[in-house]
């Protein structure tokens, strides 16, 4: 699993997760998700178009992000879900609650970006 977090000038955040998000790899996300939430973004876009596999621990982390961001008054939109992750989100009935438009606007120019591998 690798991920990238980019903060746009308008304060919105973009989190892109690639590969396999599971009980092992999910812990690599934790610190950066805390920092992201501490910035109290009005909008978080989670780009899952390159997420290949997710398990219930990974789903748990995304649900947690969603709930905490919303509790702060922010919005969260998940984009690009496909294949196994899409099947899991559908099975858990999370697709209608959490998943936004499938088409992702490119990150605005001038955004700062931190990348973790």
């Amino acid at each position: 699993m690798t991920f990238t977090i980019s903060t746009a000038e308008d304060g919105s955040e973009r989190l892109a997760i690639e590969g396999e998000l599971d009980a092992v790899s999910v812990s690599d996300l934790r610190t950066d998700l805390e920092k992201l939430l501490a910035r109290q973004p009005a909008r978080i876009e989670v780009d899952l178009s390159r997420l290949r596999m997710v398990d219930s621990s990974g789903v748990g982390a995304l649900v947690s992000l969603y709930k905490r961001a919303r509790a702060q008054g922010g919005s969260v939109v998940l984009t690009g879900l496909r294949d196994q992750p899409l099947a899991i989100f559908r099975l858990l009935r999370l697709d209608r609650v959490m998943v936004g438009a499938e088409i992702v606007a490119p990150a605005p120019a001038g955004s700062t970006s931190t990348s973790k591998h």
Binding site: M53, Q84, L92
Partner: protein, 145 residues
């Protein structure tokens, strides 16, 4: 196979390879979904044994048995950790958007499950490959089935 999450990948790769043994055409949407569901369910079951059965101790053994017959795969997982009763675990409360408690629901949704507590606990997951819809089936190739 030791029950640490690091070993889950190796198990899932073996299960994924074994999914190719249940059909003479390991391809197409029906088989892809079959494999996706089997690998997802076994991954959840492995997590549960490590995190609940062995409570993350990381030194427990998990024995894996994979049986492939035409159209069916069966995976037996044996562990020496604590036992539980999967029939009494309640389903997730979807409306409250829980952050955990999805694992067993995924397992049961994707595979047939049987569980015998003991030493070892034996969790058996099996699944039949659905027959392909007619429009997915290959054109006649002259090989009798």
């Amino acid at each position: 196979m030791t029950g640490t999450l690091d070993h889950r990948d190796v198990t899932l790769r073996a299960v994924s390879a074994a999914c190719k043994l249940v059909t003479r055409r390991p391809q197409g949407p029906t088989w892809n979904e079959f494999r996706m569901q089997v690998v997802s369910a076994v991954g959840e079951a492995f997590n549960n044994i490590v995190l609940h059965g062995y409570e993350g101790r990381g030194d427990g053994e998990i024995e894996i048995e994979i049986r492939a017959t035409l159209d069916r795969i069966t995976i037996a997982m044996r562990d020496y950790g604590s036992s539980f009763d999967p029939t009494t675990v309640p389903p997730p409360d979807f409306d409250s958007l829980p952050e955990s408690g999805w694992g067993l629901f995924i397992i049961k949704a994707f595979m047939d499950i049987s569980y015998t507590p003991g030493r070892p606990n034996v969790l058996t997951l099996s699944k039949t490959l659905p027959s392909e819809p007619a429009d997915e089936a290959p054109k006649a190739e002259g090989t009798p089935r």
